[in-house]
């Protein structure tokens, strides 16, 4: 067994008296796709935000590539090699593709002025190498709102790979997309594994989750309720388990 890429030990997060995460522990190994599943309010998005530095954890330890991390900003987590692709927020709609790819990590010439020819050239390379698009097929000068939802998620994933992210976190990457677009996104996610990189992935759709992920971590009310490798559980068993957790929660409430 290789050593884990990301280790969470007893991670907790509270907002005042509201305890969102209550001691979450699990590992993510290099080259695998881990799905975080759980009902609304289970703490999936909060957990991701702790790992990426949006929220500051209130307790526990996180190590990344064997080093303890105290991520306090998104920029910091990006520099460490953790990249997040948020649903609907992957790219800024009215800006050109070549701006979107390099935003926050601009290639510049002097005094902060953009090296636009290089940004455009590298954008074309990224589309070719990470998404399989020919350079003629995509106009990188148009606003990204002309791209489909699946393509936007694809560009965001390609951007993460381009910048050598070791761990790519996807927050509901298929939500709100047409079925054909969801398919595209799932194939981009498989592409992450093909490039030898690691992904954590949140999705409500158990069909997608079971299809793409290697392992499932089931969260319930801020705790890890169970973990399974793909061969340990069928899709129907996973769905039954989710329903059961949901019903239990409904009775308690």
């Amino acid at each position: 067994m290789p050593s884990p890429l990301l280790e969470l030990r007893d991670v907790s997060l509270s907002f005042g008296r509201v305890h969102v995460l209550k001691g979450v522990s699990f590992d993510v190994f290099p080259g695998e796709i881990v799905a975080l599943v759980g009902d609304n309010g289970a703490g999936k998005s909060s957990l991701i935000k702790v790992v990426t530095g949006v929220h500051r954890r209130t307790g526990g330890e996180i190590t990344f590539r064997g080093r303890p991390i105290a991520v306090t900003s998104v920029r910091e987590s990006r520099e460490m090699g953790i990249e997040t692709v948020y649903q609907e927020r992957a790219l800024a709609d009215q800006q050109e593709l070549w701006r979107n790819v390099f935003v926050g990590r601009e290639l510049t010439t002097v005094a902060g002025f953009l090296d636009i020819p290089r940004q455009k050239e590298e954008t074309r390379r990224l589309l070719r190498e990470y998404m399989g698009f020919t350079s003629e097929a995509i106009d990188i000068d148009t606003e990204v709102k002309s791209l489909s939802g699946g393509e936007k998620q694809g560009v965001a994933i390609a951007r993460a790979l381009y910048f050598n992210a070791e761990l790519i976190i996807l927050d509901e990457p298929t939500s709100g997309l047409a079925v054909s677009e969801q398919r595209k996104v799932l194939s981009f996610i498989r592409g992450i594994r093909d490039k030898g990189k690691t992904a954590i992935f949140i999705d409500h759709n158990i069909f997608h989750v079971h299809d793409v992920a290697d392992r499932f971590v089931i969260l319930d009310k801020g705790r890890v309720a169970a973990q399974f490798a793909k061969h340990e559980i069928t899709r129907d068993e996973l769905i039954d388990m989710m329903v059961e957790l949901h019903n239990k929660g409904a009775i308690v409430q």
Binding site: S73, V74, R75, R78, T84, Y86, R89, A90, L91, A92, D93, Q94, Q95, R99, V103, G104, R105, E106, T108, A111, G112, F113, L114, I116, E136, A137, I138, D139, D141, T142, K145, S146, L147, S148, E151
Partner: protein, 325 residues
């Protein structure tokens, strides 16, 4: 997603707003020339126009940044007034131009910074806050000057005066050169600099901008500081131009300046705009009053025709956007 076939068609489809406003400008000046050739075929009128539209133009550069953020600043005329008073008072009492200049720009910087901090760190919506600061700083001017104006005739004939509002080559007003230089420099920053890019992303989608590590609060604060400093520059230039300070200094600048930005195609929703569009908007707004009078209409028509121009252009942009989406 597919690349368009023809380069000219591609250019037009990507630059709808700036192309549209340029056509509007050309049509308007054509009407002037045809309707009042005796006025608009003589070079004197252009020198006069350049001399007067520069002040609102400099403000419009800053307003373009703020509007691109999806924010608004209504307080810049009052910042212009207060910083101009600080210059006038300091120059009249101390007699030092450089010192007065530093005070003047310092006031613009500080008041812009206060706007920016209250909007980002306290969370007051910019339209609400700047209504407040608009009254506040104008009110402070009135309290300080008690209705008195300050005459700055001692500025006349100095090299400073020539530098600010003299005539270059005996024809082009220096304040227009300042406007042009600032528009070019800040237009390049807007489109080709990292900072301009961050302004566009912050205005487009602040949440996603933060997700890629942009400090959106800092970007906003910088833009409010920018318009504050530009208001001080415009205040100083118009002060030198008029050679006297009135308590209402800058008051009339608010609506023509914002109108120029909107005519220029900068989106009130943020994330989209061009400095070229703003420049054209300034040339349009700054010529209407003169043009209308030269065409033989009375000055009473000014507001009506200005209103017509603004409404027509913003409706066109809205229709264009709908078509694209």
């Amino acid at each position: 997603m597919m690349a368009s076939d023809h380069p000219i068609r591609r250019f037009l489809s990507r630059n709808r707003a700036p192309v549209l406003v340029t056509c509007l400008w050309a049509a308007l000046y054509l009407v002037y020339i045809i309707g009042a050739p005796q006025v608009f075929l003589s070079p004197g009128i252009y020198a006069a126009l350049m001399g007067t539209l520069a002040f609102s133009g400099i403000l419009a550069i800053g307003a373009t940044y703020v509007v691109t953020l999806g924010e608004i600043d209504l307080s810049f005329p009052s910042i212009m007034g207060l910083s101009a008073w600080v210059f006038a008072h300091s120059y009249a009492t101390l007699g030092s131009f450089p010192l007065s200049l530093v005070f003047c720009l310092g006031v613009g910087f500080t008041l812009g910074l206060l706007n920016g901090l209250a909007i980002t760190k306290v969370g007051v919506p910019s339209i609400v806050l700047t209504i407040g600061t608009m009254f506040l700083w104008r009110g402070l001017v009135h309290v300080l000057v008690q209705g008195q104006s300050i005459v700055l005739s001692q500025l006349d004939g100095t090299v400073w005066n020539a530098l600010l509002v003299g005539r270059v080559a005996g024809y082009v007003p220096a304040q227009f050169i300042w406007f042009l230089a600032l528009a070019v420099a800040l237009g390049l920053v807007y489109r080709y600099h990292r900072f301009g890019s961050h302004v566009l992303f912050t205005g487009d989608d602040a949440t996603s901008a933060r997700m890629v590590g942009i400090d959106t609060d800092l970007v906003k604060i910088k833009c409010f500081v920018l318009i504050g400093v530009l208001a001080a520059v415009a205040g100083l230039l118009s002060l030198a131009f008029n050679q006297s300070f009135f308590p209402s200094h800058g008051d009339s600048m608010l609506l023509p300046t914002l109108a120029a930005v909107f005519i220029g195609g900068t989106s009130v929703f943020g994330g989209k705009g061009t400095m070229w569009g703003t420049f054209m908007g300034v040339l349009i707004m700054g010529s209407l009053e003169t043009g209308i009078v030269a065409l033989g209409l009375t000055g009473f028509w000014y507001q009506f025709i200005a209103g017509l121009t603004i409404v027509a252009s913003v409706i066109l942009y809205a229709l264009l956007l709908r078509k694209v989406n």
